[in-house]
Subunit: 374 residues, 2 copies
């Protein structure tokens, strides 16, 4: 990001744009032509993914099992579409049968769902829901903000039509861009629109002309942010996707085992646990605000509080991107023991660390560190 | 931008946010509480400034004398409002009498106008148009993308209700944020909305709760970009606003005199010339694409081509922010002489440089360099 700022139509910058889109196709595991970073943070990616494919009067099925599903519903409603909400309890996954019932007997334009619910720590299985959406001739729109680069997001393999993410989660880049990819089928829907996209800034019919061969000016690209994303993606490519997914799994399991050995309860059942974010139930008698403040002040570690209806009930520990590594897991467990003990939640010192170590031993010492982890 | 990324709710980052808003108030010359950087480039600022104050059925008067006025019209139309267009020829300013006629006899929600038309190089006088807008009880929305920090943008002094800018022009920061300021009167209009803002990402009714004392999470702020903006604003404050305006004026006049002494014609008449961007008519027989390519390849200097209807007819030379300094003016004149001569447009070598030097002498040697110009 400290490199000199090039003009947004400078030939050298156009080369950097092309490299960035090629690397994005790699992490999205897609051949989609329209694969670009939007000039906004992840939530702007969400808006882009919905408003470009919805017109007034369209029906959208939106799956809600956390804060980000609710946000999708809010955005879809603002562009004049009718929203059908499919719900699951927070901490659970969406049931494909519920989606099937929602799309039955009517013309649904798209089904929107969150792959990695950052507010709960649930990893949503997508295969069956993709089949349901496609059987109903609806597009599948997937939020991969907290999965892309740390958990497989197989856009072509799963048949995802529109998928977006943020840069500051598993890609380990500063926040500021929203990678998005659009399938040929979704591009057809875009081309067949009868009305203008409700937002000029997020209008893909114009933006794709800047990122495509025309290089038609739309808005000035955030040049330094794109440098940062390109570099972050090069690190992902250097490590290798499958190795990176494995690293995220190992460190999340080690963290989870350590936490449970302290007597803490994980919020999500094992088969739905997200490898990039571990959510923990705040035990009775513990104040999560004090806990988080102590961790930040005394250890320089920031963990998230509960959002929405989970405020005060869970804490959320990110183990994503560069930060998904053994030394961070071990320090967090040690620090958490200390901070919980201060609040009178007695934890036997050292047991959590031993539990985590057993996981690392089982994984045969292989790669709990990122490619350039020092 | 290379500083470690803090969390978007980290107490240290909240301090940086407060400093940034305080410095933004300084450059906007305003006391407006709601003065923040939006997480997008300048065009996203334009969208924010229009859609938050327009509801379906409202009437907006949009002044068009260049590409960015047209963009305002496009955006205002997308949120369902009726747009009345007030025009002036490209290269001319909007006539306040035309605005007066447009607002007469009907309820107009806002008048939108570009202060510094980047596509033509015109600086629009605002005082009279502000009076006309306010007499009609309409808000005045001003695009200050290419003026803020280089040309006075006296938000409170002129009675501007909503004013936005970009970071990469006279503020000399990388592109990626859009500073915006909203008057108390415009905040009232926002609070009195009957419908949701058409965009979730740009919805000021929510974003102001993150930038205000509540610190309510909306979207993850682009942390590194905000570091960059804060630093750029500190440099503006260090130099001093009036000194900075003076520097922009001196360098633009020197450049303009030099260009004219080569036999080139400036596109805009003297009293409307923007001090941050000098537009020059491409002389007969000269190919602007070759000219710009030669300047970039052989001198590392990027100048802009004509946009829209001015494509191929003018070139646009930015002299803004850090780049507004004597050495850049002198090098550009020298380089342009060389590149024009190659195309057979014979220029007497050295005359333009002498003409520019005479301007610097008249300005008595004072400050043609930025505060930290080395």
């Amino acid at each position: 990001m400290a490199a000199p700022v090039l003009g947004h139509l400078d030939p050298d910058f156009l080369g950097i744009m092309d490299e960035t889109t090629e690397l994005l196709r790699l992490v999205f595991e897609t051949g989609n032509r329209l694969t670009i970073p939007m000039s906004c943070t992840g939530s702007g990616g969400m808006e882009t993914a919905l408003i470009n494919f919805l017109e007034p009067g369209d029906t959208a099925v939106v799956c809600v099992n956390g804060v980000f599903g609710e946000r999708m519903e809010d955005i879809a409603g603002r562009c004049g579409s009718r929203v059908k909400r499919v719900e699951a309890p927070w901490g659970e996954a969406i049931d494909p049968d519920d989606v099937r019932r929602a799309v039955e007997g009517e013309r649904v334009k798209l089904v929107a769902i969150v792959h990695a619910e950052t507010s709960t720590g649930v990893l949503q299985p997508l295969t069956e829901i993709a089949q349901v959406a496609h059987a109903a001739e609806a597009l599948l729109v997937v939020d991969a903000v907290t999965s892309l680069g740390g958990v497989p997001v197989r856009v072509d393999g799963e048949g995802i039509d529109v998928c977006y993410s943020g840069t500051q989660k598993c890609l380990s880049c500063p926040p500021g861009l929203a990678p998005i990819t659009v399938s040929p089928r979704a591009e057809e829907v875009l081309a067949a629109r009868k009305t203008s996209v409700s937002s000029w800034y997020f209008d893909l019919t114009m933006i794709r002309r800047y990122w495509g061969s025309e290089r038609f000016y739309h808005h000035t690209a955030p040049v330094s942010m794109i440098y940062a994303l390109r570099e972050a993606l090069r690190l992902v490519a250097e490590e290798g996707l499958e190795e990176r997914y494995r690293r995220h799994r190992v460190n999340a399991v080690a963290l989870g085992e350590g936490l449970q050995s302290m007597g803490l309860r994980l919020f999500v059942r094992p088969e739905l646990r997200l490898p990039s974010l571990v959510s923990v139930v705040v035990p009775p008698g513990v104040d999560d605000v004090c806990l988080r403040r102590d961790l930040l002040t005394d250890y320089g570690i920031e963990i998230g509080g509960g959002l929405g209806e989970l405020r005060g009930k869970i804490v959320r520990i990110g183990v994503m991107g560069y930060s998904s590594q053994r030394k961070n897991v071990m320090l967090l467990l040690t620090a958490l023991e200390d901070c919980l003990n201060r609040q009178g939640f007695r934890v036997p010192v050292g047991e959590s660390v031993s539990a985590a170590l057993r996981v690392y031993e089982r994984s045969e010492g292989a790669g709990s560190e990122p490619a350039d982890g020092r």
